[in-house]
Symmetry: C2
Subunit: 433 residues, 2 copies
């Protein structure tokens, strides 16, 4: 029987070249790195810089993982194989993170970060959120471990993404629409523009200002940092115990990169150490709305629009890039985790970008075939898996990560269902191929 792993895996220990470090902007006096050290839980900072290959998962975190439903299942997608006509020719599996009570993988790092804040003697954690997955995960982790949570939620999401906002509040979190009146940065933005819709950059600035006000508060981070990415490897560590055969393709969607990294790094590490997975292709599925791994450039760039955080060497579309609005809000980030970017640069990870139209078609096929409504972000991995399965050699094995369910993204599905009313179900566009 698969158990919750004892260790996270830190790929930095196995990279063939050193990981370019986070940097402060060269021309500026204030150190963003010193700021990070000040606001993040101290054990997270230790993990951010460690070169150890295996990082012990604290027993209290393992317990919380178990309570939350880990290990998550690895499921053979026979329904999908049949629906797309590859049954008997390709085998498709997916790891399903949607069983977690927040409905996505974000809880995997929210729990240890909140626990580390507790170890620092903090009473409260604060963070920013866009669509709300990260804010909900932090709210739940805080409720599990008995800390207060304060979430700065971009105002447009605060108004439009009501289900997650209300869920956060019902779990006891304080949720401020950002810009808020709680911080100087928020008040300034509101003075300049009273109907300011908010931005993730501004919400980050507000959360950090709020944390700096009180030494018993800690900031928690949703993605991109190596330590955060490492927490997500609980997914891939479980997967190594579950895989019935070595896959030809491993696929996950990429926002900040923690989902893709968490899913693939334990296997990628074996590849880097010459212990297996040498024929596996690792594919990052992203959105054409923010195709940084497909079309971005590899360079030092700001982690956030406001340059409150340090610079990172990564594939980026530019910190000021404004992606078009898409339902998969989690995939709109301009950059990607430094380690994932480096692996892409080294040719160990491939990238493919998909439009909203084509991923929702894939979502519809998947929902009917597998009886799970996927999160808009996860649909990109499904689309990539379907494409690969259709063109793959006979006997190929494809494993993808289904990072979350879409039951709280019903507004996205409404667009589809408006075409599916009262029995007039259109044929899938691909059905005739």
């Amino acid at each position: 029987m698969v158990d919750v792993p004892r260790y996270w895996y830190n790929i930095v220990a196995d990279l063939p070249v050193p990981l370019p470090p986070l940097l402060d902007p060269l021309e500026d006096e204030d150190s963003r790195i010193a700021l990070l050290v000040k606001i993040l839980p101290s054990r997270l900072i230790d993990e951010e810089y460690t070169l150890s290959r295996l990082i012990p998962i604290p027993e209290r975190v393992r317990e919380a993982y178990r309570k939350a439903g880990r290990p998550t299942p690895l499921i053979r997608a026979e329904g999908l194989e049949k629906a797309i006509g590859v049954h008997g020719r390709a085998r498709i599996y997916y790891k399903y993170e949607g069983v977690l009570p927040t409905g996505s993988h974000k809880l995997n790092t929210a729990v240890p970060q909140v626990y580390y804040a507790l170890l620092d003697g903090a009473e409260e954690v604060a963070t920013e959120t866009g669509a709300g997955q990260w804010g909900l995960a932090v709210s739940m982790a805080a409720a599990m471990l008995g800390l207060k949570a304060t979430v700065f939620m971009t105002r447009s999401s605060y108004e439009k993404k009501k289900p997650r906002r209300i869920a956060m509040q019902a779990l006891g979190a304080t949720v401020h629409p950002s810009p808020s009146t709680v911080t100087e940065a928020g008040r300034r933005a509101l003075r300049e523009r009273p109907d300011h819709p908010g931005s993730l950059g501004l919400a980050i600035t507000e959360a950090i200002e709020y944390v700096l006000e009180n030494p018993r508060r800690r900031y928690v981070a949703g993605s991109v940092l190596e330590s955060v990415v490492t927490h997500q490897t609980v997914i891939g560590q479980e997967l190594l115990q579950q895989l019935p055969e070595e896959p030809d393709y491993m696929i996950a969607c990429v926002g900040g990169g923690s989902n893709m990294a968490g899913f693939t790094y334990p296997a990628l590490g074996m590849r880097l150490r010459g212990e297996g997975f040498d024929k596996t292709q690792f594919i990052a599925a992203e959105s054409t709305a923010a195709p940084r791994l497909s079309k971005g450039t590899y360079r030092y760039d700001g982690l956030d629009t406001g340059l409150v955080l340090p610079l990172a060497r990564m594939y980026s579309l530019g910190k000021d890039y404004v992606p078009p609005p898409i339902h998969a809000a989690g995939l709109r980030y301009h950059g990607a985790a430094p380690s994932l970017s480096l692996l892409r640069k080294l040719g160990l990870v491939e990238a493919a970008a998909y439009s909203q139209e084509e991923v929702f078609e894939a979502a519809r096929i998947f929902a009917r075939a597998e009886a799970i409504l996927p999160a808009p972000e996860s649909t990109h991995a499904i689309k990539a898996a379907i494409d690969v399965a259709r063109r793959a050699e006979p006997g190929s094995v494809i494993v993808f990560n289904l990072s979350g369910h879409g039951l709280m993204d019903i507004d996205a599905y409404e667009k589809i269902s408006s075409r599916i009313v009262d029995g007039q179900v259109p044929e899938p566009a691909n059905a005739r191929r």
Copy 2:
């Protein structure tokens, strides 16, 4: 390690007096029982009348249960114990059915019923739904097993409960607002009243008319029938493997009764056979909006308003009883399963009714303490468990069933969160006690 049980448990085999059978209305020519036999999957009819104690769970159903996340966890509620001040004095556990992908226990019977329809050579299942939990479970089971699903959803819910309706459609189900233009009964209702809001009784009538039109369709039933109740005992059968100690109290909420029955019957059966649980109190938590076990009378009454279905001997508030609207729509039924009603009559099951106000207060305490947002229906069991824990003897053990999560009932939580905005969290009303 707990595995998915091999058998459902049929309490009819152990009842100390015979179960009063379903009856046709005495004064009427048409047999409702003959109708049931015609529209339900034939294996369900077999199970409805069997006297066998153990009913084998078909291997295909066990597989689907596993894929859906069974066995579901039994969780020690230490957070809740601390929050209500009974930690060290009472031990509280809950079985959590919300991990199922539909978010509630309803899938436990949807899967076997759809499978039995498949065994009959049917191509489609049809049913009615109010708030949508049952319709969503049927839609998902049909997607899992490759049948079509048609759901008649009361028009007021169709418009107000959008998340579940859209989820059903995304899973491939056809959802008609009832009254619909698809059946004669629906058309008649619309002629009489074009803005008819629908009723569960009318939706049942429509679903049955729709099934009768085509021999390759089967009707599937959400609760009350003994066979349906028996499917839910998968919960209690798992629980017997999981319980670390014999509880003093076992608590579940009651709508039609399948949730309470499924949770308690395997233990109640041991009590009836003199094999244990002789000091356990079994408590049915219901709503003051429909307190049939607390205030109803035990008699033969219609299962549905329209008398399309047979009569059953049960506790009832009268088939024409119209409960006030509450968020826990699943608890608004006027009656309760015949076996559960008989056990109540025999004094083996107790009942307690709670108002919407007090259960939401309990929900708020639970959400913050256990990091799970409960379904409005399940909050009644939480409230009962909290009350019992506060007044129980030191050392008492309380186990309740958390039948679902509330992530798709966010509209209900909005009422609470309107009192919890931007940091102004009111103290729980009970905090000062």
